[in-house]
């Protein structure tokens, strides 16, 4: 081809050359996916320069961990998403200090962090229902576990964190002192104050990786709530699964499991030989072949009945490993695929203890709605913390998984109204549909959060689909 080749002049060039290709991103619920430029972060300097170049694009940046939030929190249509999962080193473990601590990069998963710490007899104080979340995601959503009533949420155990701010500066934040405001806005701040690059986490000591578990079957919702209110304080960990399909006299039948960390003396001689062994079996990955409506009334009913009767009526002091007590869902990877291409949503709310009537009404609405849910969790939260967008508050919390079907919007809207009226709220890490106005009613400290955010990120460089939906600017 020569220089004067006529087509050279008229060659069509793409009008908008793109640095990185657009990648469709979705949350764990697999609904409302959008595309963003996904940038892998492998070093601190990489994070700084990625932030700088993303600033040019005009659609902002969102940090992203393992994508275990259910909705649109880690998506940013047309903008940039920073994938932090390669920034995943455990930097140092201080097992001698009292209390012990660990310093990590933000992309490390709680799964690998636990594996690293257990041989030292150290324990991550707050674990959500899956270990496949990053420390950054655990901080940004201020996650809670089965021990919220005794230990609070993840943010309560962060001694300090390093935040890459919109101006490109990296700042170390602590829960007290002059950086406290930005620290607490970052806890539960859904990645909108900056990128958490690393953190120091306060740990607990443990003699074993096992639990002493008591299991009880409860005949209905009243029985369940009564038992939890009375007995929870005797246990570090407590959670109930309930049947959200059966109506009539079985309505709200439940399996309550509560337990404490097992000490050496609680173990069988065989387990005592390797008390800190991490048991994490895998049954493989669910293939992407499930149609919509796989989870329907019939399958959910069969599942719920089986789950209920599989549990012993009453059993005390059973030894269970981490996976069976904490993370039965982690045994199968990508189980969310069983909901088919329409996806599903998770609705988790909390209302104060004084509103137990509202709680029952919400529960009945769900059971009688015709929408079916298999994974239904009920828990009592202890007091919340200083983070303005943190979800937990003292009260009852309930979680249901609902396949996306006709009429689900009005069910959720009705639940929202009841929750707002009761002074409760919905969890952002699970949400994919709240409106900005309802959200504002649920989070009375929103303006405190926004004031910090506007100061640290006046141009709104940090942005996400969730931030646009809830007008977090």
């Amino acid at each position: 081809m020569t220089d004067d080749f006529p087509y050279q002049e008229t060659k069509i060039t793409p009008s908008m050359p793109e640095a990185q290709p657009m990648v469709p991103l979705h949350g764990w619920g697999r609904a409302s996916s959008t595309s963003a430029h996904l940038t892998q972060i492998e070093s601190i300097s990489g994070a700084v320069s990625a932030l700088r170049s993303a600033a040019q694009s005009g659609r902002g940046v969102v940090p992203r961990g393992l994508g275990r939030s259910y909705g649109d929190a880690a998506q940013n249509a047309g903008g940039t998403a920073l994938d932090l999962t390669k920034l995943n080193r455990v930097l140092s473990v201080d097992a001698e200090s009292e209390p012990p601590t660990v310093q990590v990069q933000a992309g490390v998963s709680l799964d690998s962090l636990m594996r690293t710490l257990l041989p030292f007899g150290l324990w991550v104080p707050v674990l959500p229902g899956t270990r496949q979340v990053t420390v950054g995601g655990a901080i940004a959503a201020d996650v809670h576990g089965k021990n919220h009533h005794t230990e609070g949420s993840f943010g309560n155990h962060v001694a300090s964190l390093d935040l890459l701010r919109a101006d490109g500066e990296i700042q170390t934040l602590r829960p007290e002192g002059d950086t406290a405001d930005l620290f607490w806005a970052t806890i539960g701040g859904m990645g909108l104050t900056g990128v958490v690059l690393g953190a120091t986490i306060v740990l607990q000591r443990t003699e074993s990786a096992y639990f002493l578990v008591d299991t009880e079957r409860c005949t209905d919702i009243d029985d369940l709530m009564a038992r939890m209110s009375e007995g929870d304080d005797g246990y570090t960990y407590s959670v109930a699964w309930f049947d959200a399909v059966s109506r009539g006299k079985h309505m709200g039948r439940a399996v309550l499991t509560r337990g404490n960390k097992a000490r050496l003396q609680d173990l069988t001689p065989k387990l005592r030989r390797d008390p800190l062994q991490f048991v994490a079996p895998s049954l493989g990955t669910i293939p992407e072949i499930f149609p919509n409506r796989m989870v329907n009334r019939a399958t959910a009913k069969a599942f719920s009945t089986a789950w209920y009767y599989k549990a012993p009526k009453y059993r005390v002091g059973e030894l269970q490993n981490i996976t069976s007590f904490f993370h039965p869902l982690d045994i199968v990877a990508e189980w969310n695929r069983i909901y088919g291409p329409h996806g599903f949503l998770q609705y988790q709310f909390v209302v104060p203890f004084s509103e137990d009537e509202t709680f029952r009404r919400c529960f009945e609405l769900i059971v009688n709605s015709g929408h079916v849910s298999c994974l239904n969790v009920l828990k009592r939260f202890g007091p919340g913390n200083a983070a303005p967008l943190s979800f937990p508050m003292q009260g009852w919390t309930l979680t249901v998984d609902l396949p996306i079907e006709e009429g689900l919007d009005s069910l959720c809207n009705t639940l929202d109204e009841l929750v707002v009226a009761a002074g409760g709220r919905v969890y952002l890490a699970k949400d994919s549909r709240l409106s900005a106005s309802t959200f504002r009613q649920m989070y009375p400290r929103l303006d405190d959060f926004l004031a910090v955010r506007r100061k640290v990120d006046p141009d709104g460089l940090f942005n996400s689909d969730l931030a646009r939906r809830l007008q977090l600017h």
């Binding site: 659609r59 249509a77 949503l345 996306i404 919007d409 409106s435």
Partner: protein, 251 residues
């Protein structure tokens, strides 16, 4: 953003006083609080529509749009997107005109072509440029079965709809992979202010029915829908009727 249940939080109605456009807004307003941008001529009808939607809990912005004027079209799009992302944009205006006058009056034929074809395709390009930058959004083009097989009785109108329909189907293809989707809605005879006084045809529908089908189409990410759905079969039959016979059909 369009949420997990398929509901938008911002809606742009181009031709914001059309019966169908307003019926779409009402349906969305019933499930979610949303921002509605009403782009239309500044008439009492627009004010009334804005007031009604505000009553339903919407945040309403009124934007001037004179479909015949290219500058006005550009300004309207700029203004609509200045307030934030637009999740769903509906191209809802159109002019029926007197069919016999339309093919004999040069002024009227030009006007129909401008309003029903030039304006929609111009706006289609303006919209898709904005939405490509957002990497998300849906464009809904209200077409008509009249464009699918053009009839002698209203061929000028039919030809403009045929053109805009083809454009939007093509636009949908061109936008694949960008996160922006196009839905072409082909209603049959709609009982609305546009057809007031005309005898209703068989399979006639109401603006509410068109709105309902459109909302479902957006949710299911459809590319083309007929309202009512059986119209699709009727039209596919009509498309293949030989001209001499078609000429004699009482339609």
């Amino acid at each position: 953003m369009i949420d997990a249940l398929g509901a938008p939080q911002s809606l742009l109605l181009l031709g914001g006083t059309s019966d169908i456009a307003l019926a779409i807004a009402r349906r969305y307003a019933a499930v979610r609080t949303l921002r509605v941008v009403l782009a239309a001529r500044p008439t009492p009808r627009r004010s009334a529509a804005a007031a009604e939607l505000a009553e339903l809990g919407c945040t309403v912005e009124e934007v001037d749009l004179e479909a015949r004027d290219a500058f006005s079209r550009e300004a309207a799009i700029e203004q609509a997107f200045a307030g934030g992302d637009i999740d769903v944009a509906v191209v809802a205006f159109g002019l029926l005109g007197d069919a016999e006058q339309a093919w004999t009056d040069p002024a009227l034929v030009s006007e129909l072509a401008e309003v029903n074809y030039v304006a929609p395709v111009h706006l289609g390009v303006l919209l898709s440029n904005k939405m490509k930058a957002q990497s998300h959004g849906r464009i809904v083009a209200l077409s008509s079965v009249a464009g699918e097989r053009v009839r002698r009785s209203n061929f000028v109108y039919g030809s403009t709809k045929a053109g805009m329909d083809a454009f939007y189907l093509g636009l949908g293809e061109a936008l694949r992979g960008t996160g922006v989707q196009v839905l072409v809605v082909r209603p049959g005879f709609v009982k609305s202010k546009m057809t007031d006084g005309l005898p209703a045809a068989p399979l006639a529908v109401t603006p509410q029915e068109v709105a309902e089908a459109t909302v479902a189409g957006v949710k299911e990410k459809r590319e083309i829908i007929w309202v009512p759905a059986p119209m699709r079969v009727v039209m596919s039959g009509l498309r293949h009727v030989p001209r001499p016979l078609f000429r004699r059909l009482p339609i």
